[in-house]
Amino acid sequence: MNSLRPTWERAVVSADSSQALVGGLSVDGLEVSYAGVPAVRGIGLEVPAGHAIGLIGPNGAGKSSALLGIMGAVPRSGSVRVAGQDVDGLSPEQVVRRGVSLVPEGRHVFTGLSVRDNLRLGGVGRRAKEGYTETLEYVLELFPILAEFNNRQAGLLSGGQQQQLAIGRALMADPDILMLDEPSLGLSPTAVDSVFDALNAIRSAGKAVLVVEQRAEFTVAFCEKTYVLHDGEITLELKPEDADNVEKLTEAYFG
């Protein structure tokens, strides 16, 4: 079991969220539905640069749909702005080029390809070709295991290593906003710790982080703000200091 009170040093780039939003994500009235059945019902949230925002909730609450909606991978309505610019109507690959990367649920590394080739593919979504080597160095420094297993087939890595690769691949696009869908799913407690240590470093580097998780206490403690999503709607907003009472709070709310 992971500690309920992680002791990450918070490195907030700017307390002034309007300034931090320059490189951040702003979502307003986001709706996603499948064959007429609504999965996300008009949620709004802001993820400033240098901040981590959490999205928790039960299965089927619409968390993954919200992330896919932001990426333009599923039909959506509502406004999604990246660094102040509208990304409505853009395809997922265009959204990546605007500076948003998603680490999908279940990691989805390209198992038949090597670690190196997975990282190379992550670089395809870069806005600028310059700086590729620096980004690669940054990723390999963040996840030294990827340097060690550079030539290994990604399918042969452990779950935790694959998660590191999936995050590394997303970072290769040099995003301003990194979104992660259940990064702790199926990982050992040690692997979860190292993933969240890396996320903390990424946040400290000034990137905006939006993380969807099942581990409520963990997420609430890690993020500057965590939204509880229920039946497609944001029903509760939690701060790190609520981490000890998450169960009590959500129970009180949902009965």
Binding site: P92, E93, V96, R97, P104, H108, G112, D117, G122, V124
Partner: protein, 293 residues
């Protein structure tokens, strides 16, 4: 002994040809789940082109055949399949049938129902003797051509960033897009490569037959599709291996079946296909029992 070696070389050559044709189908299927029956008409178009331009020299005829294969393949994507992105694989297959029949009628209108003939690379039609065993030069040439194309393709797929993008899209199209790989680019690339492979198949088959009619590519694509399915159309290597196997088996049966049974050669091949699909419904090279949906 001599006969066995000769028939083995012929069978490897036939397998190589169908392997390339199945790969042509498998590359596109991997990316957009389209089993393109109209790939046969790309082979036909390149075949016509070789027949009509051979007199200008191979160095003109072969590049033109490749260009025509690539252009027709890309036109199919732009004109038909790109407009059906949300269609199911079954709908796409039916559309490709329609396109195939339409193009066959167009070829009839343009070039009549009669076959067009030319002596394409007649020097490859002779036999040579190696160590006392006689081989058809074309069989050896086909194996070499297929080997070179495969080597180049594997290098391209594994070393170039474009090839890696194609592999990623074939493995997991949705994730590929989330990583930032442009869908239209990889789809176009798969159709272009499919066109090049179809032109290569057209070349070796045209040398063999010296004649091209409106349905020239149909029997090839039927066997290639069957091969791709039994090998595992879901994987590029599966399609290649399955195509090879069907070509190999067909050729061996032609060589070794008693003459009064050789009319039933295709029946034996299809029997083999049925047996394979009963025991390995997802194909020989696909692990597990289900095809990815």
């Amino acid at each position: 002994m001599n006969q066995l070696v000769q028939s083995l070389v012929d069978a490897i050559s036939a397998g190589a040809t169908l392997g390339l044709a199945a790969l042509s189908i498998g590359l596109v299927f991997g990316v957009i789940r389209l089993a393109n029956f109209a790939a046969g008409e790309i082979i036909t178009a390149s075949g016509y082109s070789i027949i009509f331009t051979w007199q200008l020299g191979w160095y003109v005829a072969i590049p033109i055949a490749i260009i025509i294969g690539v252009i027709l393949s890309l036109l199919m994507e732009l004109g038909v399949f790109s407009r059906m992105r949300t269609a199911t694989p079954a709908t796409l297959l039916v559309a490709s049938f329609g396109l195939s029949f339409l193009l066959q009628r167009v070829y009839e209108l343009l070039f009549t129902n009669n076959v067009q003939t030319a002596a394409v690379a007649p020097e490859l039609a002779r036999t040579i003797s190696v160590g006392g065993i006689r081989f058809q030069l074309l069989s050896l040439a086909t194996i070499v051509i297929a080997g070179v194309i495969l080597f180049a393709l594997i290098q391209f797929l594994n070393k170039s960033i474009w090839g890696l993008q194609l592999q990623a899209a074939a493995a997991d199209f949705r994730t590929a897009r989330l990583v930032g790989i442009p869908a239209s680019r990889v789809i176009g690339l798969s159709f272009a490569l499919s066109g090049i492979l179809a032109a290569a198949v057209a070349f070796v088959t045209t040398v063999q037959t010296g004649a091209v009619g409106p349905t020239f590519g149909v029997p090839i694509v039927i066997l290639a599709l069957i091969g791709a399915v039994i090998g595992g159309i879901d994987k590029i290597s599966g399609a290649l291996a399955g195509g090879f196997l069907v070509g190999f088996a067909t050729s061996m049966l032609a060589s070794w079946l008693p003459s009064d049974m050789s009319n039933f050669r295709d029946a034996y091949v299809f029997l083999l296909v049925i047996v394979v699909l009963i025991f390995r419904p997802s194909g020989l090279l696909v692990r597990g029992g289900t095809v990815r949906t």
